[in-house]
Every structure is written in C-alpha cells, then in structure tokens.
Amino acid sequence: MTPTQPAKATSGLDQKALLEAYRTMRTIREFEERLHLEFATGEIPGFVHLYAGEEASATAVCAHLDERDSIASTHRGHGHCIAKGVDVKEMMAEIYGRVTGSCRGKGGSMHIADLSKGMLGANGIVGGGPPLICGTALAAKHQGTGGVGVAFFGDGASNQGTTLEALNLASVWNLPAIFVAENNGYAEATAATWSVACDNIADRAVGFGMPGVIVDGFDFFAVYEAAGEAIERAREGGGPTLIEVKFTRYYGHFEGDQQTYRADEVARARASLDCLKQFRERVTASGRLDTAALDGVDGEVAGLIEAAVAEAKQAPVPTAHDLTTDVYVTY
C-alpha cells in the first residue's frame, strides 16, 4: 500500500485533454444537480443515487480508457456512464423511463448501461460488478487486445464477499483488472470507519497479492496519476491494482434521504475541496487553461443537460409490446 502522492501540477495533460476532463466532470455535476431538482418534483420514478462530489474518480479513471476497455458500476452509476461515453440524452431518457433511453426504459437509473461503450451497467446489487470485471478482463487477456476491466465499487461494497473474491481471482489469474474503491464515507447511513474493519480499504490489497493505493478523490490529478499507473501495469500484464479513492458524496444516499446521520462534511467539501473548483484553480494557476474556456464548457454543458431533460420529458414511454420482449435472444 502506497500513501497518497500529491499529483504533479496538471499531470502533463494537454489543453484538449484537460478541457475534455473538465467537460466530463462538469457534465456529471450538472446532470446530477439537475436530477436532484427534477426528482423533487416527483416526476422521476424509482430510486436515484447521485454521484455529485465524486466526479473526479470516474472521470480521471476513464480518461485512460478506450474501446478495448470495460467498466462495471454501482447503483450510483451516472458518473461512470458519462465518463465512459454513454450518451447523456439517452441516459436522461432512461432515468425518465422513456423508450428513447439507453435501455429503452426497462432499466432505469439503477441499471443504466451501454455495452457498446464497454459500460456494463449500473448495478442494483452491492458487489455485483467486481466479479463481472474479472470476466471482461479475462476476455481482453484472452483476445490479446491490451484492454482492461475496471470495477468501481463503494466502501460498503468492499465488505461484500463477491468483491473480496474478485480481488483474489483477479490476482490468481493475473488479470488486467483495476478495482476502484470509492470511499465516500458511508454506505447508506452507516459510516465506512465502522463497517470497514481496517484503517483503509487499500489495506486489503496485500491479502490479495496486489498493490493498494490511496488517493484524494477531490483531486482529479491524483486519481488520474494513480489510475494511469495501475492501468498501464495491467495493460502490460502486470496484474490488478486496488485503488481507494476518498471523498464525500454531496447528496443523500438516494434522493429523499434526510441525511440526519451526517455532520457538515458536505458544506466543507463543497466550499474547499470540490473537485471542479480544485481543477479550475489548478489549470488556471498553471496557465494551462483560462477561465473563459472553462466557462464556455459550463455553458455548453448546461445547454446539453437542459435539452436532455426537455427531450426526455417529451419522449414516448414503452408500450405493452415491450413488456415481454428482450427476455431471451431466442426462445
């Protein structure tokens, strides 16, 4: 287990890449903030878990990925989807249960997916993703594509047997798999400091024969560098890595959660640690990007999300026919 390394300036990313990363983070933030508002109107069905505050993790990890690579997500999956390139309008439509959605309205927020993008789905089962990623990593290895599989999972999920088994299997099979433990401090209302019996989730890596790294999840560049190193090693046959990303979620466990179990972490994080704020400061201070360019992205993203919501609300819902299709490929 390596302690957090302060990330060097802007990690050698060029302007285009920096702007792209910023756009992704901003898109996730805007998507989630808007959902938070829309949910309150009662128009969005089902359970919705927001990723706001955690944008740097999905974005920085997926910045290293391409079409050879696959990811598995969690119930808190919007950010991973966006970072892996799933169409934002289709996502919004899916969350509204429309036939134009990524899953034609049959999955919803908890099962949003786009396999064509290597996004294996949000997952309603805590710990559902890590075993799947052993498989996608195995496929990449078998096919010799150089691809990797990345499993995102929470602090709560780090106590699920399926996750722990997957860590061991990935090591035993020497898979190009990356395990990203997103430690946002809570599983529902339960504190990670209570439910995870060791100091850091990354401490578990040694028991499964792989490197374990801890990174500051508010710092895009810290995550970017740690993920880059792990992914490169995996692509070269060096096996899996466990990366623990520490940060805070900005909203409740799901929409509707009163969060009385919390202290004032969120206000503090928003004020001083926020990944978007930090990113802006870093790239402007280093002179890589100027405020105008960043503001330009903000505007474009706002327009995109606005359009996504408007279109989703207008889109048709599935019909009786859809109820019984897609159960089997052939029956």
Binding site: G105, M110, A189, T190, R262, L323, T324
Partner: protein, 337 residues
C-alpha cells in the same frame, strides 16, 4: 373501534413487543440501528424504509447494524439461533438473496434434518418483496417461490397490518427458520391492529370473503387486488370466495381444497412469475386433490415470465390487476367443454 396503524408500524410493534417479552430476541440488518459510526443523529434510519426505527434506543445493544455482508450476518443470525438467541435478520430486499442464499437454504433449513432432529434454529429473515415502486429488475421481485421450494423453511406473506403483526410474532416464537416477506407497497396500508400481543398460526388460511361461485386464492399484496375484483364481480352477481393462505409453507391445503370442492372453480392470483411459482403450486395441488370437483380449467393470474421492468407503464402492466382477475374468473364461469 380498534386502533388503526400501518403495516410498517405493525411490523415495528411486533418486533418491539417480542423484544420486550424475550431478552433473547435480537435484530440485525443494514442500518437497522440507524447507521453505525455516523456522526449525526442517532437512530437516523431504521432500515432503508424505517421499519425498525426507534428500536435501537429502546433496546440498546440488541439492534445491530451490519456491514453489507449478507452471507456473514444472515449466517450469524443462523448460528446465534443454534445457541439460544432468537435473531431477526433483515435482508433489505428479497432480491439480495443471491448473495446469502446458502446460509438460508443449506444451513438454517437443513440443520434439523441433517443433524437427526437435534437442532433447533429459531431464526427469522425479514425481507421486502414485490413491484410497485419502479425499483426495476433487481429490487422488485417476489422470489418467495424459491424459498417455498426448500424443505425446512417456513414462508410467510402477510397481506395486511393485522396479519403482519400476528404472523411476525408467531415467526419470532416459532422454532423453525422463517422467511418473513413484507410487500414494499403495503408498508403504508393501514388497518385495525390490536395493541396487545397476539399470534396468527402458520398453515391456517384466512377466508377473506365467502362465495360459492369461484375460489380465488390470492397471496400477499394480491389479496386486496382479489378483493377489489370480487367486489366488482359481486355487482355482476358472481360470488367469489377469497382465500389468503398467509403462509406458503406450510400451506393450508384443506381450506383451499374444501373451497374448491364447493365452488368447482379456481383462480390463483400471484404477483410472482409463473414458472415453478405459487400459482402453479396451488393449481397442481387442486388438480391432484380436488379434481373431481373442478368444473372448469384452473386459471392462473400472475406476472409474466419476464424480469420486472422499470418504466411506470410497463410495471403497471406487469403486476396482476383487478381486471385480469375478473377476466380469469369469468373465463372459468364461461367455460364449456
């Protein structure tokens, strides 16, 4: 008039009264004690839908939060039950059975038989099932047919607040492992519930409505759907008898068979999917044991053989409704060889 409370409150009250009565009753589950280790309000949650709220403060040390480790904590409940406790473990959604099923069906369910009758395992697994909240494929299943299939388990499906309380108290006192299935769409249903403690025995169906024309066996949340259908049918002069088995294992075979002997017609209404499900189970029972009385094909009204869809209009089509029940009844009445 008797006091009216919700299904959620009925479950909570049953837990509270049994914990008061018997110090060996403990409960455990994710956030059941409100969220351990968190800096804010104590007892903030009471399970995800607030069913256990308040118990932690009343019974310190006897309401345990757990990590998200269903095999470990359900297994712990089973192990503790062999050593004198009467644990009630909450499996938040029945859909999560797949990560802990072994401890239920290979351990708890089989101890008594495998160990030659020398084990007693009084464990209750409370769990939430059913569609209706747009929670999609992994949070809306019924799945109690899977537990009903397993010898050694008892399976309970309360359909009202009154039943929730009486059946849960029975479950806690029962000396066999019990899967106690609460329908998430019923938590806010209100009904008359005695304040005192009482039990409803397992394996005794409730005849919810008398009728001579057709027998409707309805399970869990479907009982109220059947009642609505029966009310509509009554307006058309069809008198349906409605039977709520209350427990699928043990199943009150006699009440069902006697009713069909009288009516000659059977409609089974179940929200679970049809293959190897409860509708098939009850239909088969009747086709074997009350065949002579049957005057029409048995009708089954169930969910389709599909996962539960997310979108609202699809989920509404998925869940059996009054109209489908009424149609099925009419089909049995109209049948001609």
């Amino acid at each position: 008039m008797a006091r009216t409370i919700s299904y959620r409150e009925a479950v909570n009250e049953a837990l509270r009264q049994e914990m008061e009565r018997d110090g060996s009753v403990i409960i455990m589950g994710e956030d059941n004690a409100g969220g351990a280790g968190s800096p804010g309000e104590d007892d903030a949650w009471g399970g995800v839908l607030g069913v256990t709220k308040g118990l932690q403060q009343r019974f310190p040390g006897r309401v345990l939060d757990t990590p998200i480790s269903e095999s470990a904590f359900v297994g712990a409940a089973v192990g503790a039950a062999t050593r004198g406790l009467r644990p009630v473990a909450e499996l938040m959604f029945i859909d999560f059975m797949g990560v802990c099923f072994d401890q239920i069906f290979n351990q708890a369910a089989k101890f008594r038989y495998m160990f030659g009758g020398k084990a007693v395992t009084p464990v209750v697994v409370r769990t939430m099932y059913g569609a209706g909240l747009n929670a999609a494929a992994q949070h809306s299943q019924c799945l109690y047919p899977l537990f009903t299939h397993i010898p050694g388990l008892k399976v309970v499906l309360p359909s009202s607040p009154y039943e929730a309380k009486g059946l849960l108290i029975q479950a806690i006192r029962d000396n066999d492992p019990v899967i106690f299935c609460e329908h998430k769409a019923l938590y806010d249903m209100t009904g008359e519930v005695p304040e005192d403690s009482y039990t409803i025995p397992f394996g005794e169906a409730d005849v919810v409505r008398d009728g001579d024309d057709v027998t409707i066996v309805a399970l869990g949340r479907m009982v109220s759907v059947a009642e609505e259908a029966a009310a509509e049918l009554a307006r058309q002069d069809v008198q349906a008898e409605i039977i709520d088995p209350r427990t699928t294992s043990p199943l009150d075979r006699d009440t069902i068979l006697e009713s069909v002997e009288n009516t000659g017609r059977l409609v089974v209404v179940d929200e679970a999917t049809p293959r190897c499900g409860m509708a098939a189970d009850i239909s088969a029972l009747v086709a074997q044991e009350a065949f002579g009385a049957l005057r029409a094909p048995i009708e089954m009204v169930t969910a389709p053989h599909t996962p539960v869809p997310f979108a609202q209009p699809l989920e509404q089509l998925y869940i059996p409704d009054t109209q489908k029940v009424a149609n099925a009844v009419k089909k049995t009445l109209d049948w001609k060889k």
